[in-house]
């Protein structure tokens, strides 16, 4: 170790503080959710599962959970094949218009989500899709597409298209050669893209605030409404479960991506 300059020490201290700032809010939720007190106090009074019981015993929360899971699953089932097909076409085609289409598919990441939400609300109001399950799923498919496209495009970059050419020269048609040769090699990035689309749908709040209603309200909309009114530790329990689910999915996705190397 060379001499430690004051600048170096400052660098370590500042970085550590920033990392604490980043992690603290993520770590604080679980203790609140397992505490028996309504407000977080020091030291936490006692361990309790009452907020989890309140969550699982409440029909409204359960219905919202079902909506969230249904929407997220349907989003993955629809967005993944659409995104894979689009990414494949973008990477294979030399057409100039593909550049434009590629950019268009990334639009959901560029347009501020509040604008997208209000716009979709107006369009849905005209065609009667407000407060419906298909409406919610469609919106989330659109929002999830960029994740699938980005992930699969990255996977295709390391794939040699000549391999597919060989399969085709041996008599396979394009579709079969894609499924037999290409897909197995980009499987990891497809799965990762699908997982990101799932997380995106699970966490999506703003569009749901405008277009969901009645019995088809996802968890996030109910949580948002509850947070506006008061701080109910039931939300901490739900948040802990949601965070755990997200982390497990991300670990799964990154393990997948690493395997494809």
């Amino acid at each position: 170790m060379t001499r430690v300059s004051p600048a170096r020490i400052a660098l370590y201290v500042i970085s550590t503080l920033v990392l604490v700032y980043l992690i603290l809010p993520v770590l604080i939720i679980a203790p609140i959710s397992f505490s028996s007190a309504r407000f977080l106090t020091f030291p936490p009074p006692s361990f309790s599962l009452r907020w989890y019981q309140q969550y699982f015993a409440n029909p409204a929360w359960m219905q919202a959970t079902r909506v969230t899971l249904t929407v997220a699953l349907l989003t993955v089932v629809i967005a993944t094949p659409l995104g894979v097909a689009a990414a494949y076409a973008i990477s294979q085609s030399k057409l100039r218009i593909m550049r434009v289409i590629h950019m268009a598919l990334l639009l959901p990441l560029v347009v501020p989500i509040i604008i997208t939400a209000v716009g979709i609300f107006f369009v849905y109001a005209k065609v009667g899709l407000v407060a419906t399950l298909p409406g919610l799923v469609l919106a989330n498919v659109m929002l999830g597409l960029p994740y699938v496209v980005i992930s699969v495009l990255a996977g295709l970059q390391s794939f040699d298209p000549a391999q597919e050419m060989v399969a085709r020269s041996l008599g396979m048609n394009r579709l079969r050669s894609f499924f037999a040769v290409t897909l197995p090699q980009i499987k990891s990035s497809v799965v990762a893209g699908g997982i990101f689309a799932f997380i995106s749908a699970m966490d999506e709040t703003i569009v749901a605030l405008f277009i969901s209603g009645g019995q088809y309200q996802p968890l996030t909309k109910r949580m948002f409404t509850a947070l506006r009114d008061e701080i109910d530790p039931t939300i901490a329990a739900i948040s802990t479960l949601m965070t755990a689910a997200s982390f497990m999915l991300v670990l799964l996705a990154s393990a997948r991506q690493k395997k494809s190397g």
Binding site: A7, L19, L107, P108, T116, F122, A139
Partner: protein, 270 residues
Amino acid sequence: MLALVSPALLVILALIVLPVGWLAWQSIYHDGFTLENYRRVFTEDIYWRSFALTFEISLAVTLIALLLGYPVAYLANALPKGWSILILSLVVLPFWTSVLVRAYAWLALLQRTGVINQLLRYLDVISEPLPLVHNTFGTVVATVHILLPFMVLPLYATMQKIPGDLMQAGASLGASPSLTFVRVFLPLSLPGVLAGCTMVFVLCLGFYITPELLGGGRTVMVSMLVSRNVELYNQFGAASAVAVVLLASVLLIFAAVSRFISLDRILGQK
């Protein structure tokens, strides 16, 4: 090939291009063409002040994120691989926690009966709880938290491409470490600074959940103006005009920045 992209493209056209086009149309057409909505946005106080506040907050958030993010990215770049992976994982970890969950966490931390106020009172630093949330301060703290990864990742990606020999060359020519940093490293990291700042600033312009939940109704950012005009006042034309001006600002910023660095570079790092 076009047939393969068309389903995805159709979804994008129907669910984002059409809705945004609809907003644009609605902002200028209501039983005939009118610029009344834009006149209101540009002359009436509430709109004007909200746009000014949104730009101020976005600027503050961007600067704070840069000041906090640069050292972290620098350290992750300088340390051996194992450490840098750990640091980057800690940076990305909150990324995968819902924005709503983090808003809740900040409420729990910052409110009058929250963790920080209790801790400070316990330590006898303060006698009255500090107003840490339901104001602009709380909004900024939580917004920086959410946007920091968007600053650190492009910074780190750019720093990774700076050859280490350059710093050694600087040192061998007699420059002190701080001089080498200022003259060599810092200028070479500027593309990352620009990419990170653009992403943070633009995302912040459209922020909704955090100011709505942590701003206490006083910090009315543009996004809240849009939602209130729709939900409370049924002023669809005004809401549309505000949305169009916000979108135009975002696109202008992207267009301006893309003259210096490629858009892929800004959007590439998710």
